[in-house]
Symmetry: C2
């Protein structure tokens, strides 16, 4: 995993927007990674950054995949992943 | 909007998986479109189709965008959109 990857979780979306804008001061690409229900928040983050905060940002690549995770009963279950790579 | 587009909403994910598999009998590409919280369900649908039901399916393209919608107070708010184009 590269340094300029931001993991999207359950915090308010503006926390992640701020993190992306901050990373863009240092890097020309920033990757957002989210799984499960946080996937829609990753898309929101990318769209808000692009439309309101970093005018020159664009979507360079979007990948989806699946990971196996263990739940609290130690049962294995699949969870979807999204990785949105933003460039500027 | 093309005929072979499936709108992902709040139904159980397997309903949409079945819809995609059915469309693949008729078309070589199927597009999944979702907005807001349903975005993660669209990714789940694509991943389940690809991993378990249509082995030759692959992600041809993923686009994200923003739409303005009116809520119940007639206030305008932005919602994120994802379109996942699957080919086989």
């Amino acid at each position: 995993m590269e340094e300029n990857t931001i993991f999207i979780g359950n915090k308010p979306v503006m926390n992640y927007v701020l993190a992306v804008v901050t990373q863009f001061n240092q890097y020309n690409t920033v990757t957002l990674r989210a799984r499960g229900k946080a996937i829609s928040r990753a898309v929101d983050t990318a769209e808000i950054v692009r439309n309101s905060f970093v005018q020159e940002a664009y979507v360079e690549d979007i990948q989806i995949s699946t990971e196996e995770v263990e739940n609290f009963n130690e049962e294995k279950t699949n969870v979807s992943i999204i990785e949105i790579k933003l460039g500027k």
